[in-house]
Every structure is written in structure tokens, then in C-alpha cells.
């Protein structure tokens, strides 16, 4: 366990460093833009005194390092400032919208792993056969369109032409669920309402699948490439000469070592999904961070933009640390490191 603990500590330290970098980067972009954020927020009809007052409140007249120092000291107290768009604390806004986005991204991530990895495995096992070619073309198509195009196509096919799934929203109106975690798939269970859970799952299916499609393609392609490489190693030949079935060889011998490099990329794909969630949410009117994010960006609402980007990056870093830990745990060389002399 010592190796794992050290790994966690190291990864957390790097992540904090990166997060500081992210805040400085966005801060720098936000402060060098032309135009007065206070003037934009108040509109053309505000008097100069009002603008000056807001500038003082936002500390826009201080030097850049002083502004950043103030921002960090507030951040450490869990305060991201007030959004000029909603007039509420940014943390309140994010707490309201983030769970819906995270729920979508997590379900999509699960779909990516549960569909993408088996597809890649199948493809590698039947390398060169029709199943392999079909899976390769389908996965390449999946990667080749932005998720909003998939969202529109899926919506057209499975919500309009074949009305199997709902067009918008997270849950039907008849279910009143008290938000506990903000994740409807958890809150409905906590409330002991299995029908509401089914309804929420039914609502999330199509948007999550649209978001997952390019990730599924990516995961399948990677797993296939890694497994094809593994199939050429002597120990697979040995397993064959033992007379093990092809299915067992694929699952136990070829797939396992291919899983580790695939997982690394899946962790990175998660970043893409957090961004692409903005696109899918816009198509399915999903009440997540998307509408808020785009609205605050268009209004140059600095506090809200900074807060949103920071929270998204932090989520990405945490997920990647978890993926790294999973990889370390799956890798016997790291798992058993402390037992070696």
C-alpha cells in the first residue's frame, strides 16, 4: 500500500500545481481583454458613477497581481465571487447546474467503457474478418462527427421519427424529487421511487449515448490496436498451444494487458466529454452547466467564467487521478511493488 499512498500524494500535489496554473491562465485571459467588464455588465444606460462603483467592487482598478491574490484568498474560503449575470454567488450557480452535467458525463463515460472496450475486443479477436471491418468503420464514423451532430441525428431518429425517447429534460413533470445529491439517478433511489428512477434513466439515455459515441469509437479503436499488438506476443501462442479456447485467450490473456493503455486515454477522453457536454446539453435542453456557461461567456461575466472553468478542470483532474489509481491497482508491477526486496 505504500506505493499507492505515495502515488496518490504525488498526483494530488501535481494536480494542485496544475489547478493553480489553470486559474492564472484564465485569470490572465480574462483581464487582458479589451472593453470594461463593469460597463458590459451594467449596459450602455448606466451612469459613469455606477460603473466606477462596480469597478471598485470588482477590484478592477487594482494591479493584476493584487487582483489575483485577492481572488485566491477568496477562493480558499470557498468564495468565487458574485455572478453579474444571475446576481447570485457563483458557487450557488455552479452547485445548481453542475450535478446535471456530471450525471450526463458519468453515464456517458460508463457507456464508453461498457460498449467501447467489448467492441474493441471483438474487433481484435476477429482481426481482418467482416466483424472487425464493420466495427472499425463504425468506430471511425463515431469519432468523425461532433457530438451535437450525433445528438441531432439520434434525436431525429429515436425521439421524433420513432418516438421511443423523450425530446428534452431530465425527468417527467409528475415526479417531484427533492434534490439531495443533485444526481437524479441517485436521488430517485434515495426517495424510494423506482418508477421515477426508470423515468430519469429513460430521459438520460439518448443524450448520454450521443455524448458517448465518439468516446465509444475512440475506446474501441485503442483497445483493438493494443490487443492486436498483444496477440503477436509469444505468451499468446503458448496459451494457444495449451489448447485454451479463443474466447478465454481473448478475455484473460490478450485483453488484460491492453486495458491499461486504453484506460489512460479514456481518462483523457473524459476531458473532451466534459466540454462536449455543452453541445449535447444545448440540443436536448438539458438543464446543466451548458446554458449557464454560454450565457456567462457571452456576457463576459468574469467571476462566473473563471469559476466554471476551474470547477470543470478540477473535475477532470480528480477523474484522472482516479483513473491513474485504477491503473496502478490493475498493474501487478505497482500493486505488488512493496513485496519485492
Amino acid at each position: 500500500m505504500i506505493a499507492l499512498t505515495r502515488l496518490i500524494a504525488k498526483r494530488l500535489a501535481t494536480a494542485s500545481l496544475v489547478l493553480i496554473g489553470v486559474s492564472m491562465l484564465i485569470f490572465a485571459i480574462a483581464r487582458v481583454i479589451p472593453g470594461d467588464p463593469a460597463r458590459i455588465a451594467l449596459g450602455p444606460n448606466a451612469t459613469n458613477e455606477q460603473v466606477a462603483k462596480l469597478r471598485t467592487e470588482l477590484r478592477l482598478d487594482d494591479s493584476l497581481p493584487a487582483q489575483y491574490a485577492h481572488f485566491v484568498s477568496e477562493l480558499l474560503q470557498g468564495n468565487l465571487g458574485v455572478s453579474l449575470y444571475t446576481n447570485r454567488p457563483v458557487t450557488t450557480d455552479i452547485a445548481q447546474f453542475l450535478p446535471a452535467t456530471l450525471e450526463l458525463v458519468f453515464v456517458a463515460g460508463a457507456l464508453m467503457v461498457l460498449i467501447g472496450l467489448p467492441l474493441g475486443m471483438l474487433s481484435a479477436r476477429f482481426e481482418g474478418k467482416w466483424a472487425d471491418n464493420l466495427i472499425r468503420i463504425v468506430s471511425l464514423l463515431g469519432v468523425s462527427a461532433p457530438s451535437f451532430v450525433w445528438a441531432v441525428i439520434l434525436m431525429l431518429l429515436f425521439a421524433f421519427y420513432l418516438p421511443l425517447f423523450p425530446i428534452a429534460g431530465r425527468i417527467s413533470e409528475q415526479y417531484a424529487i427533492d434534490p439531495v445529491t443533485g444526481f437524479l439517478l441517485i436521488d430517485t433511489l434515495l426517495a424510494g421511487k423506482p418508477w421515477a428512477w426508470l423515468d430519469a434513466a429513460w430521459h438520460i439515455a439518448l443524450p448520454a449515448f450521443a455524448l458517448a459515441l465518439s468516446g465509444i469509437g475512440q475506446a474501441a479503436r485503442l483497445t483493438r490496436a493494443n490487443m492486436v499488438e498483444t496477440y503477436n506476443t509469444p505468451y499468446i501462442e503458448m496459451a494457444r498451444s495449451y489448447g485454451f479456447s479463443e474466447g478465454r485467450i481473448a478475455r484473460r490473456y490478450a485483453f488484460k494487458p491492453s486495458l491499461i493503455p486504453s484506460l489512460t486515454i479514456i481518462g483523457l477522453d473524459f476531458a473532451a466529454m466534459l466540454g462536449n457536454a455543452f453541445l449535447v446539453e444545448a440540443v436536448f435542453a438539458w438543464p446543466g452547466l451548458s446554458r449557464y456557461g454560454v450565457a456567462v461567456i457571452l456576457r463576459k461575466d468574469l467571476n462566473a467564467i473563471l469559476g466554471t472553468v476551474l470547477v470543470i478542470s478540477a473535475t477532470f483532474l480528480i477523474v484522472n487521478i482516479l483513473v491513474d489509481l485504477l491503473i496502478a491497482w490493475l498493474n501487478p508491477r505497482i500493486r505488488h511493488a512493496e513485496q519485492q526486496p
Binding site: L25, I29, V149, V152, L274, G275
Partner: protein, 277 residues
């Protein structure tokens, strides 16, 4: 080089990729002659023919002010391809130089460069580009800037990894022993060995730049109307689903066709160059 072209032409999938990409490039370059209604690229209004389903002469239908969607797609390709070229022309050299430096040099310069790329890579690409686009003004130039800002770190990473591996090779040690200058070792010895993966990545990325740029304009943070753009065409049409399906489906497929073409070629290149190195 001849051999690579021959292999690309013989494989049915990469041949399809070449056909798709050639069609897209020709459509964009010769849009003035191919487009049935070249004037529809701008702010033209023809209410007598608005919102028409695909029919002759509007093979992909018309939009809500009566402009031919096929013509607008051809002109939108122009912007997308231009953006792809500009982004890669700026991002690749930045990434290559910083990657070579970080991979070859030791100590803090390498550490600083790689931590900076970590910062960029830990913001979801689309979110970084969105924030930049929103804070600047949504123009074509700023769009290129925003996409470039999120693109170069990937090349830094790639070149860094190759350089780290190549640095141990005998030919680099030989050059060092002979007293070759650091720039000579970086650009004349190591760089040629980084070219195959860079070339493959650039082909694939051409498609992905188009994809990201269309995503930005889909959110209203890209090229502004009346300039035709695939992403904003999908966004505008999405409000009129399912009745006016051609408003979204054709621009959406146009993105798919272009990106798919570049991916097919990039995949084939990876197989060929990977086998050679």
C-alpha cells in the same frame, strides 16, 4: 513517398478517404463555379423560395430566408479548411520546438514547459476555446487563435516523448561526441525521426480542427452571420426539427464527411509510417 501514395491508393478505405477529402477541398476551392447559387454565401434573402425541402435546383433544400444550403455548405468548407491550415501552421511549430527543447534539455526548462502543457491539457479543449472566444470578440481570427491555443500542447507532448526515446540512441550520442551544437542535434538529428508521427497526427488533426471549430460556432461562439458556417447552420436549424430536417442534417453530414475523410487517410498513414519506423 511514391510507395506511400501507392499504398494509400490501393487500400479501399484510404482511397475512400482521399476521394472524400479531394471532393471537400475541390468543393471549397472551386465553390464560385460549383455552387449553384454563389451569391447565397452572404446576406441574401429570397422569401419566395424559403424553407424548401430538397428538390431541383436546391438539392439540399433552402434555409429560412431562401438560401441554397448546398451552396452555403461549399462556402462553409472554405472557412473550415482555412481555419485548419492556419491553426496547424501556427500550432505545430510551437509544439515541435517546445517539445524538442523539453525532451532534450534537462532540469527546470523541461519541467516548466511540460507543466505549462499540463495546464492547457487539463482544461477541456472546447471549454478553453469557448472561454477565449467569449472573452475576445467572436471573429475568424480570434477563432483561429482560440483553437491554436488549445492545440499546440498535444504536439509538445508527442515530440517530447519521441525526443526522450531518441535521445538515448547511438546516433545522437555520436553527434554529441563529435561536438555538434544543440540546435544541430535537435533539428537535424532528432527532428527527422519525429516527422512520421507528426505527419500522421496533422492529417488526423485537420479533421478534428474542423470538428472543434464547428462546435464553437454551434454554441454561437464562432464565425458570425452572414458568413456560412457548418456549426451555426446546424444550430439554427435545430430549432425547426423535425419538420425542416434538411436545415440540420445536411450541414451535420457535411462535417461528418470532411472529418471522416481526414481520419481515413490519417489511419492509413499511421499504419504505413508506423510499420516503416
Amino acid at each position: 513517398m511514391k510507395r506511400i501514395v501507392a499504398i494509400l491508393l490501393l487500400n479501399p478505405l484510404s482511397l475512400l478517404g482521399l476521394v472524400l477529402v479531394s471532393a471537400v477541398v475541390c468543393g471549397a476551392v472551386f465553390a464560385d463555379w460549383i455552387a449553384p447559387f454563389p451569391e447565397h454565401r452572404g446576406a441574401v434573402v429570397d422569401f419566395s423560395n424559403f424553407n424548401q425541402p430538397p428538390n431541383w435546383p436546391y438539392i439540399m433544400g433552402t434555409d429560412l430566408v431562401g438560401r441554397d444550403i448546398f451552396s452555403r455548405i461549399l462556402y462553409a468548407y472554405r472557412i473550415s479548411l482555412l481555419l485548419g491550415v492556419v491553426v496547424l501552421v501556427i500550432a505545430v511549430p510551437i509544439g515541435v520546438i517546445s517539445g524538442l527543447a523539453a525532451g532534450y534539455l534537462k532540469g527546470w526548462p523541461s519541467f516548466v514547459i511540460m507543466r505549462i502543457t499540463d495546464v492547457f491539457l487539463s482544461i477541456p479543449p472546447l471549454v478553453l476555446a469557448m472561454s477565449m472566444m467569449g472573452l475576445l470578440e467572436p471573429t475568424l481570427i480570434n477563432g483561429m487563435l482560440a483553437v491554436t491555443a488549445m492545440w499546440w500542447p498535444w504536439y509538445t507532448r508527442l515530440v517530447y516523448n519521441v525526443t526522450r526515446a531518441e535521445k538515448q540512441e547511438g546516433y545522437v550520442l555520436a553527434a554529441e561526441t563529435l561536438g555538434a551544437s544543440t540546435p544541430h542535434i535537435l533539428f537535424r538529428e532528432i527532428l527527422p525521426n519525429c516527422l512520421p508521427p507528426i505527419l500522421t497526427k496533422m492529417t488526423l488533426d485537420f479533421g478534428f480542427v474542423i470538428l472543434i471549430a464547428s462546435s464553437l460556432s454551434f454554441l454561437g461562439l464562432g464565425v458570425q452571420p452572414p458568413t456560412p458556417d457548418l456549426g451555426s447552420m446546424v444550430a439554427d436549424g435545430a430549432k425547426y426539427l423535425p419538420d425542416s430536417w434538411w436545415l440540420t442534417v445536411f450541414p451535420g453530414l457535411a462535417i461528418l464527411v470532411a472529418v471522416f475523410g481526414f481520419n481515413l487517410i490519417g489511419d492509413a498513414l499511421r499504419d504505413i509510417l508506423g510499420a516503416e519506423s
